[in-house]
Point group: C2
Chain length 342, copies 2
């Protein structure tokens, strides 16, 4: 399995993440990437290769133009205001308020945010584009020679919606990969999101479409970020009705329960008969993850990699979250080796 990764991920690393009412060192940090590349190198994976330049065609089909213009311009506008910190929103379009983009940078940040912890810095958009390029390049690899690929994306993407950023995400890498597959001949793509957190952005993007089946296993939004999407009754709208499947699970969920949900999810995907499968691969389901509440062991990651491989679909793994940095490499590798050596 080839790995696509970009050194440009380093361009994004905010000094602070808003957590518990104070600034902490971001959980989503550059060494996450290092732990994964090291674990892959010591397990016989070939050296990661840099992505091709990002083609914006697929990006513009999953994100709105005004949102892309926001990402392109917001740091310069923030800097021009003379603010000393990193760019964070302070006011938001809450219920019964106008969903209208203001001119001032404070209002623009709030208009496009779905979470507040995620700071935008000078290099954020460049890093986000390099991350999306990894997913896109890896998607293009899938074919007769490569039945699977791994996009080591950083920053992650699955919380980024049509015109929303937050939860460490700016461009939705998995969605861009799915759109790239569709634009290159696939007629149906399934996305299975196994990150601990609900992939609200991916759901948002494909909610009214039936050419992408979105299936997510995650912490119950009553108790877990992103809190405002990921309920079981969200099943899609219009043409997308029935093509969105959520499996919210409670605090303390072990693999015995999680694995049952996975088996059901894989059945649903099999019935959909997709041309390809994308895994939004977060390893924050791990029992020691500092900001999550599932109880998977490192061996469980191998098990579910094996389970996914049984679908025998062209499969693209797109890196999402995972914050127990010591083990993130091992757990990611376990999924991939489980998948390859079933």
């Amino acid at each position: 399995m080839k790995t696509i990764a970009s050194a440009d991920h380093h361009l994004h690393f905010p000094k602070g993440e808003l957590s518990g009412g104070e600034f902490v060192r971001p959980f989503e940090c550059p060494e996450r990437w290092d732990y994964i590349t090291r674990a892959l190198a010591t397990s016989g994976f070939s050296t990661p290769t840099e992505p091709d330049a990002l083609s914006m065609d697929a990006v513009k089909k999953v994100h709105s133009m005004d949102y892309l213009q926001f990402l392109e311009s917001v740091w310069d506008q923030w800097e021009a205001e003379g603010f000393k910190g990193e760019a964070l929103p302070t006011v938001i379009p809450a219920r019964r308020m106008q969903q209208r983009e203001p001119t001032h940078v404070d209002g623009r940040l709030g208009y496009y945010a779905m979470a507040i912890e995620t700071a935008i810095t000078k290099g954020t958009y460049a890093a986000a584009k390099s991350s999306a390029a990894c997913a896109q390049t890896a998607a293009k690899l899938l074919g007769p020679a490569d039945s699977s690929a791994f996009a080591l994306c950083r920053p992650p993407g699955h919380h980024a919606g049509i015109d929303l950023y937050g939860g460490y995400c700016f461009l939705n890498n998995a969605a861009i990969a799915a759109q790239t597959l569709l634009d290159n001949g696939a007629s149906k793509v399934a996305i299975l999101d196994v990150d601990f957190h609900h992939g609200n952005g991916t759901q948002d993007i494909f909610y009214n479409r039936n050419d992408v089946l979105f299936v997510s296993l995650h912490g119950d939004p009553l108790h877990a970020f992103p809190h405002f999407l990921g309920y079981a009754d969200e099943t899609g709208i219009d043409e997308g009705e029935g093509y969105n499947i959520n499996y919210p699970m409670l605090p303390g969920t072990p693999y015995s329960i999680w694995g049952d949900a996975l088996a059901d999810a894989l059945d649903q995907i099999e019935r959909y008969l997709p041309d390809a499968l994308i895994i939004s691969l977060g390893v924050d389901t791990y029992e020691k993850d500092p900001i999550s509440f599932f109880k998977l062991t490192s061996d469980d990651f191998t098990r579910y990699g094996q389970a996914i491989s049984k679908l025998k679909l062209p499969t693209l793994f797109v890196m999402e979250g995972g914050y127990a940095v010591e083990e993130i490499g091992i757990n990611t590798r376990n999924v991939l080796t489980g998948f390859m050596n079933q």
Copy 2:
């Protein structure tokens, strides 16, 4: 003119306000109150008196029960999570996400927030109730003996909506005063909001009602907080259609323009034939205010106090914003003396 004020305002003073991507000392600080009481004392006003206990009847007619339960419980829940900072939201119900209150405190904060800068602390709700009590007690003063009164509220209230806090506001003091007047025999009340910032919360609360006319002069939301409400095309809905009037104005607006808008606003109020008038009195229209962009001089405050008095209505002044602390006392006093000595 009697002044009602509560020493309990001191119970709310967060260490930090999120501004420009960092924590700064809150602009909405306790010494604002001291500057005002001192300016009034040196101008012959009688000593402020403490309010009666807050009656929750009127409060429950302008805020939702779930929101009041949130304010009551959120600090204890935050503390129980072991967070070290003051309570700030990190994730919000953005467009196309569920408007459903989660269980976790992070999600509850985001569900009820319309702005992020405003931290909740241990004493916040007690201070907010004491502030609302000032407005309510002052409202009850209005009658044959007192044709006007001043509620020196802190924290302010006009950004607090039916079930939303933010912009330094938790309970909507002016709305609670209006409801109290209605509950005590008034059939129509007008609220004139002269704070620099749009009174989004007051608009929200009375948007579908015709027993309260809401008129606001403020910085254009394209450029000014709260950014997502306060446009001229917001005129009310259902029975409230036509009973909401906004005058958004551009950066640099001087009294020559602001005063014209005020004259028009006073005409509208006169035609409404209210039984009483409530002024949401922010003095952040001042030319040296650090977070606003109008250009009123201290003498202009006297002028507009005079203009308001010409309506000859029972009038309650409710303190809102104003952050140029050195001059906040003088400018507030100027409005009140202008009103009394027209």
